[in-house]
């Protein structure tokens, strides 16, 4: 009896002492492992097709690109990655443009059994220019179904390659049964992608398209070894290539359980690890940055000039619910977190971190997403559009003057966003922080005057004698959605314009847009790459929605604008380009096809032990620049997760209290 009691007491004591909520093995505590979480596993990791942020979190880190973005500098600047330098455009007499990429020497893929296909016993091989050409052909392969065919169609012979590939496959079943890489060779490859030896690659564009270089900073154009595509075919227990990346980049996908966790390990074959003496810009922490980076601790001498990557491992854990994920962040088990809506007001006070958060040593990083949200007018509409001439223009100007985007942001997004003055978000070439759009502030007096000049005094339509009636088509029928859009309607009502909210579901909205049956609509655009062309093309007449099914939903068409747009598109960043951008801005300022609303802002939280964190905005690999202090993290975790023992004792006491009368009665009865 005595021994029995002592045994239980010892067991209980042990349980209390070992009590911990640490979800990770103790041995990992002192290692440089970054913990983060995800909600949904990416559908594919094939670099030619992966186009979501969640997929780029993996592909961006395991696939290295020829070029990349400078980590700190803004506006965004391209630096060489696998390539030795950023190539210059070489215009040819026939109007085409050539870009020459030269790969670094001695680049290796990760160790992988797939390479045995190229030679007995091989576990890796050199990264060669033909691998980049291979990936470009994969983008052009209709069977791969890449979402980014359009920009690469500027390459000479790109469309022809896709077409002849499809035709040969259709005509010849024996051809279609061959491995893809042999099929590509069979149709002669892409004319404008020339491989010169092991390390040189020439890209020939049929016409000037300087933005092509941005596409070489995205995982779409990473070198892909043909062995990996051939070996990982989903047969005989081998995974499919879309689930099994073969890395050229700083990290290797070590574990991939979509439903539970994804683990990246530092890649020992990466050039940054094998050749730190090169001081390659893509493998070294930068020593210069943008304004404010020094104050933010990003130009830390302990980091500057050091070889990358700093982290040993990155663990992505699946969290289906946002509240537990945020709790684990607060306990120190995740190193970074977004701000969930439920606790925004406890985390942020008056646009700053709350005192509770500051006490935890949490840092807040705000970053403007390179995107723009706007209200557009359908320029094909007889009342608000082109046909209305000067009157319609003044109407649009008046309506623009009534919208207070800052107040909208305050009400509906907790102030997360920058009110837009033009369509270009901060951080892009051509963005001008000092620019003030005369029609993008609230001035009801001026708006009323303009409205009267447009022939609608106090908003009264002279034809009906009643307030001018317009419709505002929105793709959101939820009650919250209606509130959001009612804000704009209420603003226009102050001018005396009676705007009717027509809320439909997204499909019906799309159909209205296809049929051109809309007047005013809300829309947004997130940049693919940080170039003004990627925003101004939204108003290019060739992109008109109703006529050409393009993204120019406003159906804006202005010859002067188009001319400048095409000139701007073909130029690299120089004063002339800046001038063109400003002239286009002036046209839009006056014409008002859009009411620019805001550029959304992302708020991210980081623990104090993370260093070298700068939010990217544009989806690009940044994990290699991050560093963390495991000792500090272990200390803080221990302090924040003191086990609360008293409920265990209280429970034990309660159990005894309940059992005691029974035991007493039992013994009494026996006597």
């Amino acid at each position: 009896m005595d021994a029995w009691v002592r045994g239980w007491a010892a067991a209980l004591g042990l349980a209390v002492a070992a009590c911990s909520n640490n979800p990770y093995p103790d041995a990992d505590t002192s290692r440089k492992i970054l913990y983060t979480n995800y909600n949904e596993a990416p559908r594919t990791l094939d670099p030619a097709t992966a186009y979501t942020t969640s997929a780029h979190a993996i592909t961006g880190n395991v696939y290295d690109t020829l070029l990349e973005y400078h980590y700190l500098k803004r506006p965004y600047e391209l630096i060489p990655g696998l390539a030795e330098e950023v190539p210059r455009a070489e215009p040819q007499p026939d109007g085409s443009v050539v870009y020459r990429f030269r790969l670094r020497p001695d680049l290796l893929y990760q160790d992988d059994p797939a390479f045995a296909l190229g030679g007995e016993g091989r576990s890796t091989r050199q990264i060669v220019a033909a691998d980049v050409a291979h990936e470009l052909m994969r983008i052009g392969d209709p069977a791969v179904n890449s979402p980014v065919i359009e920009p690469f169609s500027n390459i000479v012979g790109f469309r022809a390659f896709s077409q002849s590939l499809a035709e040969r496959r259709e005509a010849d079943p024996a051809f279609a049964a061959k491995p893809p890489v042999e099929q590509y060779a069979g149709v002669g490859g892409i004319e404008g992608v020339r491989v010169r030896g092991e390390r040189e690659l020439e890209i020939v564009l049929a016409n000037p398209y300087p933005q092509i270089l941005y596409w070489f900073a995205m995982p779409f154009t990473t070198p892909v070894p043909w062995e990996a595509v051939a070996y990982y075919d989903g047969e005989e227990g081998r995974p499919h290539f879309s689930d099994r990346p073969v890395a050229s980049g700083p990290f290797v996908l070590e574990e991939y359980h979509k439903q539970a966790r994804m683990v990246l390990e530092a890649n020992p074959n990466w050039y940054g690890v094998r050749h730190p003496e090169w001081q390659a810009p893509g493998a070294t922490y930068p020593s210069e940055g943008a304004e404010g980076d020094a104050e933010a601790g990003l130009l830390d001498p302990a980091l500057m000039g050091r070889p990358l990557p700093f982290l040993e491992r990155i663990e992505f854990r699946r969290e289906k619910e946002s509240i537990p994920a945020f709790q684990k962040f607060l306990q120190g088990y995740y190193d970074a977190s977004g701000i969930i809506r439920e606790s925004f007001d406890t985390v942020i006070r008056e646009d700053r971190l709350s005192p509770e958060m500051e006490e935890l040593g949490v840092r807040l990083e705000k970053s403007v997403i390179p995107a723009v949200y706007y209200l557009g007018f359908n320029m094909d509409d007889p009342v608000v559009g082109r046909a209305g001439g000067e009157r319609a223009r003044k109407l649009r100007q008046a309506m623009s003057l009534a919208i207070d985007a800052e107040e909208w942001l305050r009400l509906f997004t907790n102030g997360r966003g920058v009110p837009a003055q033009s369509l270009l978000p901060p951080g892009l070439y051509g963005y001008d922080a000092d620019y003030e759009n005369p029609y993008r502030r609230v001035d009801l007096e001026r708006a009323r005057a303009l409205l009267a000049e447009a022939g609608f005094p106090d908003g009264i339509d002279p034809q009906t004698g009643k307030p001018l009636q317009l419709t505002f088509d929105t793709p959101d029928t939820s009650a919250q959605g209606k509130l959001r859009y009612s804000f704009y309607v209420n603003a226009w009502r102050k001018l005396g314009i009676d705007v009717r909210l027509e809320a439909t579901n997204y499909n019906q909205f799309q159909e209205k847009v296809r049929n051109g049956a809309y007047q005013i609509f809300p829309w947004g655009w997130v940049a693919d790459y940080p170039d003004p062309e990627n925003f101004y093309f939204l108003l290019w007449s060739e992109m008109a929605r109703t006529r050409n099914q393009g993204p120019n939903t406003a159906n804006f068409s202005d010859p002067g604008f188009d001319e400048r747009f095409l000139a701007m598109k073909a130029r690299e960043n120089d004063p002339e380009r800046l001038r063109l951008i400003q002239e286009m801005r002036a046209i839009l300022e006056e014409e008002r096809p859009w009411i620019e609303l805001f550029h959304p802002e992302d708020y991210a939280l980081f623990h104090g032990w993370l260093r070298g964190v700068k939010p990217a905005g544009i989806s690009n690999p940044t994990s290699k620049y991050r560093d963390l202090a495991p000792a500090l993290r272990a200390e803080e975790r221990a302090a924040w997760n003191q086990p609360v023992i008293w409920p265990a004792f209280a429970l034990a006491f309660l159990a005894v209290a309940v059992a005691l009368p029974g035991v007493v009665t039992f013994f009494r009865e026996r006597q």
Binding site: R341, S343, E407, G459, A479, Q480, R493, T504
Partner: protein
């Protein structure tokens, strides 16, 4: 015709119908006794329902002009109801708590401090005003849907029960088919097909809710047509139509009234569910509750919106159900026997 004119005509018709029914009840001994009994049993519930109806009528009688144009210039050109006029110029900029002097976030001064007993919503509208406006929507949904569903149910149920044979088979087949389709799915499908408006929501609700009443009236008619006085009338050569109007329908009236009252609360509740799915009627309590979904997860919590709309919905449904239960006790002969 302008919507507010239709609304005014409806108000007049409702009032006339009310007076007509009152005059009828005064002369009819049975109904007079029944209503007296109802009043004796549930005075509070009846007063509550009457208040809701009164608010709805106040919000339905509207006319143009006489509106001081404040911030909202368009409002001066729109017909405004009595209720609208009472709450004119109570607009704030954003959330404020009940009886607060300052905005909930940011703490800016209110334009009308301390004058919002239920606070204001995200767009600064007075929540009491929005809640009162919800009464009209709720009664409109209940009333209009009943006007669609009850005649349909009576027509099909009575003719099936009275004439029998093939017609009965056909009607019962229709009833079984409708009853076997999940109600909510059918509702959503109908609204998607007809487009989203108050009227289509009412039609959809009407189409899905007549089945129960139809089944009851069919059964009752089957019984009634075999009674001696109906047989006698038939033997005397009275026309079918006359028998239906004279002998069958009046004897179904108590069922209709009980079902109407009990169905009413179900309809208002169904609309709240539809609002939750984003296909409800603008300005209903369901929509207010839906809007408040986000507000409950905010911290500090915005509670007055959902409290006001939820209480208003709850109050109406509770009162209507009390009245309905009492009516059933009084009108249904089977329960009547148990009374002391």
């Amino acid at each position: 015709m302008e919507p507010h004119v239709i609304s005014n005509v409806v108000v007049v018709l409702v009032l006339l119908a009310g007076f007509g029914i009152a005059a009828f009840v005064r002369r009819n001994r049975m109904w007079n006794d029944a209503l007296r009994e109802l009043w004796r049993r549930r005075p509070v519930a009846i007063v509550v329902v009457a208040i809701y109806a009164g608010v709805a009528l106040l919000d339905s009688a509207a006319w143009m002009g006489g509106v001081e144009s404040g911030e909202d210039v368009v409002a001066a050109h729109e017909a405004k109801s009595v209720l609208d006029r009472l709450f004119l110029g109570t607009q704030e900029k954003s959330y404020s708590a009940p009886f607060a002097d300052a905005e909930f976030y940011g703490g800016a001064d209110l334009a009308h401090p301390g004058s919002h007993p239920f606070g204001t919503d995200i767009l600064g509208r007075d929540v009491l005003y929005l809640t009162l406006k919800g009464a009209r929507v709720a009664l409109l949904i209940g009333g209009l849907t009943s006007l669609i569903a009850i005649p349909l149910a009576l027509l099909l149920g009575v003719s099936a029960g009275y004439f029998g044979g093939r017609l009965d088979d056909a009607v019962f087949f229709l009833i079984s088919t409708l009853a076997s389709i999940p109600g909510l799915l059918l509702l959503i499908a109908l609204i998607m097909v007809m487009g989203q408006s108050t009227f289509s929501v009412c039609i959809a609700l009407g189409v899905t809710s007549w089945v129960g009443l139809s089944r009851v009236t069919r059964g009752e008619t089957l019984k009634l047509r075999e009674l001696d006085y109906v047989k006698a009338a038939r033997a005397l050569g009275v026309s079918q139509l006359r028998i239906l109007v004279r002998h069958i329908l009046p004897n179904l009236m108590h069922l209709v009234i009980i079902t109407f009252v009990l169905m009413f609360s179900g309809l208002v509740l169904s609309e709240a569910i539809l609002s939750w799915l984003g296909i409800g009627v603008d300005g209903s309590w369901g929509q207010m509750i839906d809007q408040a979904r986000d507000e409950l997860t905010r911290s500090p919590i915005i509670w007055w919106n959902i409290l006001a709309s939820g209480t208003a919905l709850f109050g109406l449904l509770l009162a209507v159900n009390f009245v309905g239960d009492a009516l059933r006790d009084i009108l249904d002969p089977r329960t009547l026997r148990d009374q002391p």
